[in-house]
């Protein structure tokens, strides 16, 4: 343990929060905002569930990425993390803190929040941290505060107005060291209420073996150039204060210490009571509050007999007014929806990060379509050209197909445009028009699981009997689909997905000549490759696109044109209600 307060004071905090604790996370972000930071100091949260979580950022909101475990945190993030709050449950504390120290190369400080961490685990952490350059505080710690720099934990408060009331925006010269988390805010206010400012505050936690023990905490304050005075809150139980006295006697600590030791009331009890904190139990006389106070007074410590004496022992300075809470923060609320596509800013409509008209002028229809579908402006020319081809190819495939038939039937029944179009669109599903997504899933599964083409084929034929993206009614090996030929021209040279699809085709066509790569399969494979090589999508991001139905959306959009055309065509034809002839429906009795 050699990280000093001065090192922390110079940090640009990059915090990882291990566990999703809304109150703590929000209060750290509020403190960032209070300090006028442009971006949050929290770079990620380790928690299962969603991919990101929204928090307030002043009066508006910000997204913080969630990672399901430390091991999936991207290397680039791991590299920059220098501070960590661990809000894991007590039994996971030891392993998760050790893992964090091991895998975060720039880590300087850890705060452990959990109460009820087994003593042996805390001792193991002490032993483990001995030769590591990381300041570990806790367990049972509500945090470490270096005003103006770092609020690591709930310390200082969890509501925006509490942070203002505490007057902790700027640093000063009084260090606060306490075993009690509940008292740390009280003490901060005692200090700042005297017109003084806090150099740093640490809640060590009231466990039997805090990783950072009182002696070490006092030395942190002694060695901190900003700190002039130290306020120390201790309790009955344990003998740490004797070691502090030794430091003072040995002149290793020269700064003025104001000490309050809680627990004189224990004298009222027949058997020594266990107070709220694990360590707060005095079985021997030397562990009692009274004994510790007398001993500290004997080495020249300013012992506060009564709680008010702490304030009285501090030189008073001019008290500055408490800042008022920003009106926007006061009325803030979580929006119902968030959008990465478009929205209003200063009364102007924005689309894909620019004013609507600018965006429109800078995009072809295909480019705009793909960008809107992916939720970000796409610039790859090749991908846009491919999309253009796909959108054109899928517009119509004769009125004989199910979706078009339904559109036409509705149109002839006198339904309006939207109803007729909806009848067609609602036909799109597993057997009609919905195969691009399934094909994309097949190619992604095959490539990412390192399956051979024949393994994938047997997987699918066992499960469903067919391989998505393979097979056509009419086209065969000797009569190839001209559309697939056109799509294939866009295939990336070393496109792993398209190559895989072709390998699958080379096996299926040996079984039956019409089991060729079809339009759905080809679009899926080429698009997967383009997204990977041109737009740098990771397999996880591709998986997400499949989950949310992106690949089918290309079909839906394009075919909407076709269905609309068929609707208008039928209305122009004006043939009246369609009815099947008796001969077209066989009745079985």
């Amino acid at each position: 343990m050699t990280t000093s307060i001065e090192v922390i004071r110079k940090l640009q905090p990059q915090i990882l929060v291990h566990g999703l604790h809304q109150g703590i996370i929000q209060s750290i972000l509020d403190y960032d905002h209070l300090l006028g930071r442009e971006v949050p100091s929290i770079v990620g949260i380790i928690a299962r569930g969603r991919k990101k979580e929204r928090f307030f950022w002043g009066g508006t909101e910000v997204e913080i990425p969630l990672y399901s475990s430390l091991s999936v945190v991207p290397v680039a993030v791991k590299k920059v993390v220098n501070s960590l709050v661990n809000v894991q449950s007590a039994r996971n504390v030891k392993d998760s803190v050790i893992e964090s120290i091991d895998s975060l190369p720039d880590l300087k400080i850890v705060d452990i929040f959990a109460e009820g961490t087994p003593e042996r685990h805390a001792l193991d952490l002490i032993e483990y941290g001995k030769d590591k350059n990381v300041l570990v505080v806790g367990p049972s710690s509500v945090g470490v505060l270096v005003p103006g720099v770092l609020k690591l934990g709930a310390i200082g408060g969890t509501m925006y107005d509490q942070l203002l009331d505490a007057r902790i925006k700027n640093g000063g010269d009084v260090a606060i060291i306490t075993t009690s988390g509940g008292m740390v805010n009280e003490l901060i206010r005692v200090v700042t209420g005297q017109g003084r400012k806090v150099s740093f505050a640490i809640a060590m936690g009231g466990d039997r073996f805090p990783v950072l023990d009182p002696e070490e905490a006092i030395l942190l304050a002694e060695n901190d150039p900003e700190t002039k005075e130290i306020v120390f809150f201790g309790e009955l139980g344990g003998t740490d204060e004797y070691r502090i006295a030794e430091l003072i006697k040995a002149k290793k600590v020269k700064k003025r210490i104001i000490v309050y030791i809680a627990g004189v009331v224990a004298e009222l009890f027949d058997t020594p009571p266990q107070f709220g904190h694990a360590k707060a139990l005095a079985e021997r006389h030397d562990e009692s509050a009274t004994a510790k106070k007398e001993m500290l007074a004997s080495v020249g410590v300013a012992v506060a007999d009564r709680f008010d004496d702490i304030a009285k022992s501090l030189e008073q300075k001019e008290l500055e007014a408490v800042e008022l809470i920003d009106d926007q923060v006061k009325v803030r609320h979580k929006a119902y929806f968030m959008s990465h596509l478009s929205g209003e800013e200063d009364g102007k409509i924005q689309l894909l990060g620019d004013e609507l008209l600018n965006t429109v002028q800078n995009n072809s229809l295909a480019s705009l379509t793909l960008s809107v579908l992916l939720g970000k402006q796409v610039k790859s020319k090749k991908t846009i050209e491919f999309t253009d081809l796909v959108l054109k190819l899928l517009v119509d495939h004769s009125p004989n197909v199910s979706g078009a038939v339904n559109t036409m039937v509705a149109a002839r029944a006198g339904k309006d445009l939207v109803s007729s179009l909806a009848a067609g669109l609602l036909t799109i599903g597993p057997r009609f028009g919905g195969a691009i997504n399934d094909a994309a899933e097949a190619w992604l599964n095959g490539v990412e699981n390192n399956l051979s083409a024949s393994e994938l084929i047997s997987d699918y034929t066992q499960k469903t009997g067919i391989v998505p993206g393979i097979g056509h009614k009419k086209y065969r090996l000797d009569n190839p689909d001209p559309r697939v030929g056109a799509l294939a021209k866009f295939a990336e040279k070393n496109g792993k997905y398209f190559n895989f699809a072709r390998e699958v085709e080379s096996i299926t066509t040996t079984k039956k000549a019409n089991l060729i790569l079809n339009v759905d399969g080809a679009i899926a494979a080429v698009m997967l490759d383009l997204l990977t090589t041109q737009l740098k999508y990771t397999p996880e991001q591709l998986r997400e696109l499949i989950t949310i139905g992106f690949f089918n959306s290309l079909f839906v959009i394009s075919r909407t044109i076709g269905f609309t055309g068929h609707y208008l065509d039928q209305r122009r034809n004006d043939e009246g209600l369609f009815r099947l002839d008796d001969s077209d429906l066989r009745y079985f009795k």
Binding site: M183, N185, V190, R208, E235, A262, V265, D308
Partner: protein, 386 residues
């Protein structure tokens, strides 16, 4: 969370087995007497981490099995629920030795002495030992009469079962045979899910007889993720505490004590860890029950604590208010006054609500936000006694 004692029965059972020795003893729970050999002579004792059992008359020696059920009744009538029966052996109080293991920040220490027994405190000079890492176990073995293997087994069980203190005092070596006469073990109750030799049922608290209110709060504490404690100091006290926070509650109790009103303090207790409104209600109900029973003429209650980190003041006060409203007639009749001092999330709403409620019920003492210091609020509380 903290260190707790486990029963004498469980301690002896574990340690004798680990040392390769036999142990005979029977636990008595809730007055149910187990099958013991008829015609035998026994010792019957309270097994609840109570100190000075001889002095308090909580041990019966030389007890024939025919007298067992009478004596069990005497102890259970006194409110003791966990007893222990052992065969009665006479041994002379000579050659009693001492050995202990303690978990410290620097490591586990082992101490031993040839002069053990009840006088161990006065024989401190005879105690040897230190950090296990620095000791030569072979030498310790020759000096203690344990084998190296037995010492290793003790250290092993000490660690694997998350013990923080193990005291074998006394033991004797009779005709070269090791005999364990008494064992005390403290474990780290946070490790309950990590151990195999003891469970929650083996934990013992020194408090001999609990009030119904204390039992109810213990139950609440065991069932909730938040924490609750309640200890009755003086059932006819005048000052009642309904406080939040492990540190602040002690500071407030200290202030009352330092102002010379310790004797009037009825209870110590606290809730923390952001309890729900319902849980706060249950807790408050117990404190109010104690309060209404007290025979003190004037009664005051201090509600609140320091500036909370998380605990939602509005929610917790809502629970408190609803209980006070339930008892409002009785509280007014007894002239009870409530004093509140609190800060934290949603303090403004919480303090406003409780001010209104106390005024409406006619039991207002004073309501303070964090701009009033803890001692100032306590001063005003104490004034309310006059």
């Amino acid at each position: 969370m903290p260190r707790r004692k486990i029963s004498e029965y469980r301690s002896k059972k574990i340690i004798n087995r680990v040392l390769g020795l036999n142990y005979v003893g029977w636990e008595v729970h809730e007055g149910k007497i187990p099958e013991i050999p008829p015609g035998g002579i026994f010792v019957l004792k309270v097994d609840q981490a109570v100190k000075q059992r001889f002095k308090r008359g909580l041990i019966y020696l030389n007890l024939p099995s025919t007298h067992m059920s009478d004596h069990v009744s005497i102890l259970t009538d006194k409110g003791y629920s966990s007893l222990l029966i052992e065969p009665y052996h006479v041994h002379e109080a000579t050659g009693e030795r001492y050995i202990s293991l303690v978990r410290e920040r620097e490591g586990v220490t082992l101490h031993y002495s040839r002069h053990g027994g009840v006088e161990i405190e006065s024989n401190k000079d005879g105690i040897q030992g230190g950090l296990i890492a620095d000791l030569d176990l072979k030498k310790v073995a020759t000096e203690t009469g344990f084998t190296t293997k037995q010492l290793e087994a003790l250290i092993d069980i000490f660690n694997s079962q998350y013990m923080s203190l193990l005291e074998i005092n006394p033991y004797v070596i009779e005709d070269g045979e090791l005999k364990i006469l008494d064992v005390a073990i403290e474990i780290d109750s946070a490790a309950e899910l990590l151990v195999s030799e003891w469970t929650e049922a083996d934990l013992r608290s020194p408090a001999a007889v609990l009030t119904d209110e204390e039992i109810a709060v213990k139950k609440l504490n065991n069932e909730s993720p938040a924490s609750f404690s309640l200890e009755v100091i003086n059932p006819d006290g005048a000052i009642f505490l309904l406080l939040s926070g492990g540190g602040a509650s002690v500071v407030i109790a200290d202030e009352i004590f330092m102002m010379g009103h310790g004797k009037q303090l009825a209870n110590y207790g606290e809730y923390s860890g952001n309890p729900s409104t319902d849980e706060t209600e249950i807790y408050t109900d117990q404190v109010i029950k104690l309060l209404l029973k007290s025979k003190a003429k004037k009664k005051v209650v201090l509600v609140g604590g320091a500036v909370a980190n998380f605990t939602d003041i509005k929610n917790t006060f809502k629970g408190i208010i609803s209980v006070l409203e339930k008892h409002s007639d009785e509280l007014r009749k007894q002239g009870v006054k409530f004093y509140v001092r609190r800060g934290g999330p949603r303090q403004a709403e919480g303090l406003k609500a409780i001010t209104k409620a106390l005024e409406n019920m006619g039991i207002m003492g004073g309501v303070y936000d964090p701009s009033t210091s803890i001692p100032a609020a306590v001063k005003s509380l104490v004034k309310g006694l006059k």
